[in-house]
Structures are given as C-alpha cells and as structure tokens.
Symmetry: C2
Subunit: 368 residues, 2 copies
C-alpha cells in the first residue's frame, strides 16, 4: 500500500496545516474504523473512557520526555489555536499586574498577539523589527528587558517572514513563547520559559489542538472571574478534560510524538535533520548570484519556513505553478508579503527538499 500511496502523494510545502509523517498517517488509517482492542473508532470514543485516557497520558508523557519538561510544569491540550492563546495569555497572566508585559515584535504573529494583549492590559513593545521589514531578530543586546514585566512574549518562528530564534533567552521575567510553527523542531531549555504554547498543525499534528506548557507558579495569577474556558487553572485541574477535548487531534499528536521519539530518535536528531534540509535550500539561494533573494538575514533564517523572492512577481507565479506540476505543492508566499515560501517542517522528507533545490536551480537556468 505504501508504495502506491507514496506515488500518489505530492510534496506538501504548505505552511500549515502541513505535511505529516507517512507512518503516522498509515497507523491512523489502519485503526480509524476500530482502535485495536476497543471496538470503536477513536473518533467515537468517550474522552472519559480508559482508551482515551491512556492516549492522553501517553501524549503527555512523551511530550515531557522529548522536551525534558521539568516537574514544575503542567501540560494541557486546548482548542482555539494561537488566536485564543493571544487572549488567554494576557487574561491569565496580565490582569491584576501593575507593570506592562514586554512584547518582541518580530513579524506578523507577534504583532497580532500584541494587539490582543492591549485589549486586556498594559503591553509594551520591547523591540520591533518593522524598520527592516522584519528580516531580523533581536539579541539580548538589542532591547532593554524589564525585569519586573509580568512576562516577555515572543514568537519563536515567524512563518510569514521566515525568521526564527535559535536560542532560549535567560530573562528575569517569565518568557512566554508562541512555538506554534517550530514546536519540537529542536530541544528547548524549558526551564527558561514561563509558558510555551503551540497549535499542532505545523510540526505536531493536525489543526484543532494546541499544547500549552505552563510553569506551575504562574497559575496563581489567573483570576476567578475569567470566562471558564479561558482560565488555565480549570484545564490544569481537570487534566485537559475541563470539557470534551479534541480527542482525535490529541490522538494524532500522540502518534507524531511517538514517531519523534521512536522513529526519529529524539529532538537532537530532529534538529540536525532540520538543519540539513534547510541548508540545501539556503545554499541554492546563496549560490544563485542574487536570482533568489532570501527575506531573512542569514543569522536569523528559519529552519521551518524558507522565504524568498524571484526577480519578478511573474517569475514567482511561474515558479509556483511549475513546482505544482512537479508535485511540489504549496510554495506560494503568504498573501500579505508575496514571494515564495517553502515550509519544510519536521515531517518533510529529505527527498522533497532535494527535489525542490533541484527545481530551483533548473528554474534559474531556464528563466535566468
């Protein structure tokens, strides 16, 4: 079956929902009608049934192990994606605080998060990459951290601009990180964060589930008058069963976590593989004599989203169209910035990236 399937399948460079490991899809397909031993589909199983509770516990366990999450952190699985986190974070962590939260504005997603924070409380722009069109990221020398800030917010990888932090900041204020688009792509020093969250649909599963990892002591900030679903404490107390969780999405995320652990061999190996894949594309860009222009400054290039322009918009359109014909799908840049974007998340096979690199070189030869 897998051979036929591999032939049918394109290489999907979509920014998310995005490519998933073939072995994960195969297992989900095999068990979709009937989860072995349970007599029903995971899609039909009560969230309070032992079968699902085992799946939930295993997902938490494997996430904890993969990221080496310290014991003083809680893991919950929520709905609503990053957008809901944009509001939940300030509702829980900023209300009742006297100092403003610090926001690092490094691209489209952190800017949206800031806009939502301002509805809930005081938020300060600690750094803003606007003047260079978000092509670079700050180092610790580039902004003045407020050690008394309720938290410092950052987006670890900006999918639209293709810039990515490759370091874990050591700040006095709790770092809150949107890791939606590069979650589990490398090991993190979780102890340096107050809260990490990631919607699954880039690196960790399908759309519809968001993992939140929160340091226990921060839960004390959540006020009782928050809307029930928006309060982290209820979800922690009920171990992600405050209401019916997105059971299938958690199940599939669990399969991805197992793939990372058993098939890939952990996040160090995943990181090395991601570096290898990204280098293939950045090398073509750098060797193109300016034909391909990368958006991000080399020091801040994303391993997940490789963003670049061609000499003209017409050539960019032609590039995406011809790519699609070759089975290289989803290369169009975000509608807000244009250009080309190759999203090469964890599950993108090396072969897909190699074919794209080859295609880029050929395209330049024929359209240079």
């Amino acid at each position: 079956m897998s051979t036929t399937v591999a032939q049918e399948r394109v290489y999907n460079f979509s920014p998310g929902p995005a490519v998933l490991p073939v072995s994960v899809l195969q297992q989900a397909q095999r068990d979709l009608m009937c989860l072995p031993g349970y007599g029903m589909s995971i899609l039909e199983m009560s969230h309070r049934a032992p079968g699902f509770l085992d799946i939930l516990a295993a997902a938490k366990h494997n996430l904890k192990e993969l990221l080496r999450i310290p014991d003083n952190y809680k893991i919950i699985f929520l709905q609503g994606g990053s957008r809901l986190q944009f509001s939940m974070i300030p509702m829980n962590l900023l209300r009742g605080q006297s100092q403003p939260a610090d926001y690092l504005i490094t691209g489209s997603w952190s800017k949206m998060a800031l806009d939502e924070a301002k509805r809930e409380g005081l938020a300060r722009v600690a750094w803003d990459g606007k003047s260079t069109n978000y092509d670079r990221l700050p180092t610790l020398a580039d902004w003045q951290p407020n050690k008394d800030a309720p938290y410092t917010y950052l987006c670890s990888n900006e999918t639209i601009q293709g810039v990515q932090f490759d370091t874990d900041f050591d700040l006095k204020s709790p770092v809150v990180a949107d890791c939606s688009s590069d979650f589990l792509h490398r090991p993190l020093d979780v102890a340096k964060y107050g809260l990490i969250y990631a919607c699954a649909q880039k690196n960790a599963g399908p759309a519809g589930v968001t993992a939140v990892i929160i340091r226990e002591d921060l839960l004390a900030r959540s006020q009782d008058n928050l809307p029930g679903y928006m309060n982290y404490t209820g979800h922690v107390k009920e171990d992600s069963l405050y209401n019916t969780p997105p059971t299938f999405a958690i199940y599939l995320m669990g399969l991805v976590l197992r793939w990372l652990k058993d098939d890939v061999g952990g996040l160090e190996k995943m990181h090395a593989f991601n570096q290898e894949k990204a280098k293939l594309l950045y090398d073509v860009i750098d060797g193109s004599g300016g034909y391909f222009k990368g958006h991000a400054q080399p020091a801040n290039r994303s391993l997940m989203n490789v963003t670049f322009r061609l000499p003209s918009e017409d050539l960019e359109k032609k590039f995406c169209k011809e790519g699609e014909k070759r089975g290289l799908d989803g290369l169009k840049g975000h509608r807000s910035v244009g250009g080309v974007r190759a999203s090469i998340y964890n599950a993108m096979p090396l072969e897909g990236v190699k074919q794209l690199a080859e295609f880029m070189k050929e395209f330049q030869q024929q359209n240079g």
Copy 2:
C-alpha cells in the same frame, strides 16, 4: 472489510464523543492517506487550499439545506465546544444590553451556561426544574417570558437528565439554543431562533468543532473590544477562516451531513427513525412494572439519552458490566446522577437498540 469491522465493533452508547455512521468512517478511512485528486491527506491540507474550501462550502450548503436555514442566518464553525459558547454568547449578545437575558434551567448544561453568563452580565432564571430534580421541562405557560430580554437561552436536550424539548418556542426575544446533543435529530424551525449552536461530538461528527448558526442582525451587538477569537463577527467576516479551523473535524462533519442527506434522506426521516429507536427502550421501561425507572417525565423524554435507574446501585453496576460483555458499551450514567444512560444518537443502528432492549428484558428476568 466491512463485515470484519462490523464484527469487531461494539454498540457504543456513550453520550459523546459517540457512535458515527459506519459508511462515514469507511470513507474517512479510505481517503485518510490521500484525499482523491489532492495528493495529500485532509489532515495535511491548508485551510486556504481549494480542496478544503470546497469541503467547507459543501458542509455549509448541506447544513443549510438539511435544516432549511433562512438566508438571513450565518453559519460558522468554531473550536472550544459548548463551554466556549457559554461565554461567547453573553460576551457578544449581552454586553451593552440593559435588560437581563432569560435562562431556562432544565439540567446540568443550562445551569453551567447560566453560571458563565453571570460573569458577563445580567442573567435571570426564567424557569428552574430543580424542585423535581430536572425531570421535566416548561411549556410556555410555565414561565413569564420577558419580551425585552436580549435573548432567552435554553438547552434543547439535557444529556445528563435525559429531558428534551420537542418544540420550537415562538418568543419575542431571540431564542438561543444549545443543540449540542440533539443537533440534526429532527427538523427545526430555524426562523424561531436567534442563535443555534452545537458541538459536533454527539450527533454531527467528532469532538473539536462547534457549528454556530446566527441571525445576521444579532451580529451588530458584538462590541469591538472583545477578545478576537470570542467575537462572532470576525468568524463570520472570514467565513470560519479567522484562524485555522479544525479542518479534519469539519471534513468529517461534512461526511455526516452528506450521510444525513443522501443515505438517511433528510431530517424528517431521521426524526421518525429516532422516535422508533427511543420507543423500543421506553416501552421496556414502561412495561417493566417499575423495575426500570425512567428519570424523565414521559412528556419530556429525550430521544437521544434514555436515562433510568434499576432497583439498586449494585444492580446498575451489574447491568452495565454485563452489557459491556455483550458488546453494549458506555451505558453508565453520568457520574453526577448515577444510574444508566443509553445514548442513542442518529448514528446508533436499530440493531444496537434492539439488542439493548432485549438485554434489559433478560436482565430483569434474571435479576428481578
């Protein structure tokens, strides 16, 4: 394949997530690796790709057709389940209003909705079934509707108590209905409602997606300062793509809608079938000489959740355990009220209900 699968599968009487149509599961399984013509799994497909936009449009179209939704209503698909709607409804429809909203408290779910509404504004208990332990529902003669209420809230079916409205109220104030547990089980006169919502995991699909049907004019009440995700207007404006929607859950709901339309033949037929199934169980209860005691008053019995007690808790435990051995799964009543609950949603086959009815009679004979 289907024969083997049918043998392996139990009859799942779980209150939700719940049984799904076998043909829906089979189609999802067949196409899980590769949606025909798209070269990728629906789990991997961008929410902005034509493939998904077609799925979204078809789901809306079929929902509109099945429920005969008038043109002045908008349909959106959200995350967060009923719990998030408990808050979104008052945040959008109650903020800025001078009168209290009316809440009909008919069981556990409407009570929880009231508690959340009180956090956001004024809410009046228009009727409360507490004095008879939520075994009955009000008629229009039983409460004094406030014609100036911003809305009147009700839960069309209380899964825990097993009571269900079988009528559409004609009120001056917009009726807001939580139809999560009986959505699409009968035709509704949508024009009598201001807002109808349903999380999918009982009658309409898997956990992780909530359909909201809202009368256009009510959207004018949503204030700009709401948290972004909590504002209905953004979701309507972006046609459920305000953020990445739960694509797979919407896809599966779309398959269920098509099953209702093409295989079942519409909601009138679905309703007749549901009446037939429920009658089988209520007849056993009524013919048991008091051995099985239904919780709901006969006039308000739910077609979806048949709740009853046995002479003792020990017998109830034995009943559920023996049922499970026969492949009749998930019969335990909600932990807050005990007893037995048989959830017989749209997708529960007649054969499953027949086997349960048979088992009830046998159990009484052997343990009477």
